[in-house]
Amino acid sequence: MSTFPISAPSWAKLPRRHMPVLATLALLLVMYGIGVSQYRAFSNVQVVFNVFIDNGFLLVIAVGMTFVILTGGIDLSVGSVAAMTAMVSAWLLQSGLPALLVLVIALLIGPTLGFLMGCAIHFFDIQPFIVTLAGMFFARGMCTFISDASIPITDGFWTTMSQYRIGDPRGNFVSISVLVAFAVVLIAAYVLAYTRLGRNVYAIGGNPQSALLMGLPVGRTRIAVYTISGLCAAIGGILLSFYTLSGAPLIAIGMELDVIAAVVIGGTVLTGGSGYIFGTVLGVLVLGVIQTLITFDGSLNSWWTKIVIGGLLFAFILLQRLIGIRYK
């Protein structure tokens, strides 16, 4: 019996799918190379560690956003939710609650809000953009409702977490935030690659209608990704409060956009269905290295960061379009 002469065109095989991630990796290496060649101190290992320390919260939030974007959705509330989590923590600590209880309460707020937004998106069939925009305003409003001024954190547990250094004998170190961020990254990568939840996320991003007819739990998965994003935003908020040792109503404004930029630069396609957590890590690092480069230069205004990110974001979206990773 003759089989059909069927072979996938060679461009459709693995390398093409991985191209955005590889491009980001190449970009990161080039930027790091520029840094090392321009500034003596750049080759110091601590520079790399600092990128992680300064962006641990961003990385965690970006992981949650990756889940959402992989389903083809968007979550604009993450910056505000992170700020609200930090704010609530600072406020509860100030009022004298024990640190662990505060931690638990603060970590519950984000996923709860995410769950509610997910339900609104699924059951009422409303655009994620508008639902999470509402969530963003709500959470930001709650911050100011709690206090319109910054609340300092003096709790022992918080200061320990903030200042504890895990280092090598030569004096290089990372903070606890970095370890938390790594743990989140590893768990998320495992969930996406090896669990049904993770695979359903990809399936929904590929074609929600098909996913439904294939009998996959589309609604449950959709609600789950917004809950996960809320949880990641909450963890990010806690890390942010470790980093700043305060809760401020106006912190992390616009962070959701940085996060989306990092995820997209990391190769996740905005229409969903294609992307990796590893790419998101690279995307966050690209953002961090740009900041570091501009700090090292010293003469450049920090707004250059935004300009460069803007240019890169555009370049990467163009790249995605050109290599045709668009299934819809």
């Binding site: 059909f4 069927i6 095989k13 090896y194 590929g206 819809k328």
Partner: protein, 513 residues
């Protein structure tokens, strides 16, 4: 086969939607090891019956039994778990996932909650080998042709020890070779004892594969027949409930001969027009009042030719003359200005705007041609719309009904009306009859004949050779993105000859005329 116990029976099934009685007291049974065709016009209740069976809709009245036990599924997943699997008309797979994953997603083999990818791939290869398909299971499903995707969908469906396989219009986007491949697999599965419920619009295919036929009309059962006892004509009569003589009338009508038409001045003259990667340079002349059929397999470049002529894609070589004057058809607006209209093959995605009313859809092209600053007076709109609703017998005849509520055939007619209103001199019809029922098909064919008799040139693209043969004065044959032959449609040309040309690409000498 006839004496075996039915694996599936449906008795006295009724289902109503607000304002519509979709099914009324329908009986249906399916024997193991048979291919059973479910036939009927659009709206006869075929899809509803399938959806009721698989639990997408609840049942108002009636019983479903599987292996003698009464069942009521609450959704496709539960039905599949019980052994009733469905493959839908549009291939429902996730294009971004690998072949293997598409087969197993939702029921992946797992260990401690983790998907065992090695096992997934191994079992996917095994399953596809059973379907005689040797492909890379790790490649994304989107990198394969629709036919292969269909096979993957079937592989997914039969993996769950399916005893009943429902194929809802599986062939509507496949070409002849791919259909043959599908049929081979269907026979194999049938011989393994699986009962196959097959829904299609293609009558030839029914006679090529089915063992028995159940016919529905207007939500009621017409009857169940062994294939041998129901000749094609009788089947069509049972489907539409009246004698079908429209098509015969077309055949009998005296048509102007090719010579008479070609004596006139050519309307469009194309020489060596081509576009790299889409279609090789071709030459084609279309006269006023001439129907030129474009035949060829799916993907042979038929649509690409149409798009070049309409300016939807830009040619990178060659030239076009309209009325003897050289012209660059760089975009559809220029084509429309020169009197060329194009009904796209993909009416849902590229043609019909579902939320707009019948009226709004119809006047769209005319409004675009006039420019948006000069609205068409309402009275003129009503006049035009009424005329074409009548002329094309669009049902329901309500100009304010949103188009998405119309059946496929009627949507196609609205699309046709949109272009007819602009009074084009050349109308390009890309698969105008795909996926619509036989009655509507006949009406559209009749219309093509009338239009050409009225002096309009038509470029008629269809996968159904009979249609092309019936309507065309001249047939251009496409093969591998190349126009390989142009045949005058006289008595010497029949389906066999065209098929041979498609298959072998011979008769090249005629292409150079």
């Amino acid at each position: 086969m006839t004496d075996s116990r039915p694996v599936l029976t449906m008795t006295g099934i009724s289902k109503s939607f607000p304002g519509v009685r979709a099914l009324h007291n329908v009986d249906f049974r399916l024997l193991p090891g048979e291919v059973h065709a479910l036939m009927g016009e659009n709206g006869a209740g075929k899809s509803t019956l399938i959806k009721v069976l698989t639990g997408v809709y609840g049942i108002d009245e009636g019983n479903v039994t599987l292996d003698g036990e009464q069942v009521a599924f609450n959704g496709p997943m539960q039905a599949a778990a019980a052994g009733v699997s469905t493959v839908y008309q549009e291939v429902n797979l996730c294009p971004n996932l690998s072949v293997a994953e598409n087969i197993f997603i939702g029921r992946e083999p797992r260990r401690f909650g983790a998907v065992r990818w090695g096992e997934v791939r191994r079992r996917a290869r095994q399953l596809l080998a059973r379907l005689d398909l040797d492909i890379d299971v790790t490649a994304p499903v989107a990198s394969y042709s629709l036919a292969v995707q269909q096979m993957v969908a079937i592989a997914r469906a039969i993996d769950v020890q399916a005893r009943v396989l429902i194929l809802d219009e599986p062939t509507s986007s496949l070409d002849a070779g791919e259909v043959a491949q599908l049929f081979r697999i269907m026979r194999q599965l049938r011989d393994e004892g699986i009962a196959i419920l097959f829904v299609t619009h293609f009558l030839d295919q029914v006679y090529g594969i089915a063992d028995r036929i159940t016919v529905l009309r207007n939500g009621t059962l017409v009857g169940e027949y062994p294939i041998a006892e129901l000749p094609q004509l009788a089947l069509v009569e049972k489907m539409i409930g009246k004698e079908l003589d429209v098509l015969d009338r077309i055949d009998e009508q005296p048509r102007p001969t090719t010579a008479a038409i070609e004596s006139g001045a050519p309307f469009v003259q194309v020489s060596q027009l081509g576009r790299r990667g889409a279609v090789a340079p071709f030459s084609l002349t279309i006269h006023a009042g001439e129907v030129v059929g474009l035949a060829g397999l799916l993907g042979s470049g038929r649509t690409e030719v149409a798009r070049l002529l309409f300016g939807a894609d830009r040619a990178d070589r060659g030239e076009v003359q309209v009325d003897g004057a050289r012209t660059g058809l760089r975009n559809p607006v220029q084509a429309i200005e020169r009197g060329i209209g194009f009904c796209s093959e993909n009416r849902r995605a590229e043609g019909i705007i579902g939320d707009l009313s019948v009226r709004e859809n119809m006047i769209l092209a005319m409004q675009a041609a006039r420019g948006w600053l000069r609205p068409i007076p309402r009275r003129r709109q009503d006049e035009l719309v009424d005329r074409y609703i009548k002329a094309l017998s669009i049902r329901p005849a309500n100009p304010d009904m949103p188009v998405r509520n119309l059946s496929g055939g009627n949507q196609q007619k609205v699309l046709l009306a949109r272009w007819l209103i602009t009074e084009p001199r050349l109308l390009i019809l890309d698969e105008p009859t795909r996926g619509i029922d036989i009655g509507a098909k006949a009406e559209i064919q009749r219309l093509v004949v009338e239009l050409s008799d009225g002096g309009m040139a038509v470029l008629f693209i269809s996968a159904e050779l009979e249609e092309v043969l019936r309507l065309s004065h001249k047939i251009a044959v496409m093969r591998d993105r190349e126009l390989v032959a142009q045949l005058d449609n006289d008595d010497t040309v029949d389906a066999d000859r065209v098929m041979q040309t498609i298959a072998s690409g011979t008769e090249r000498e005629e292409a150079s005329r």
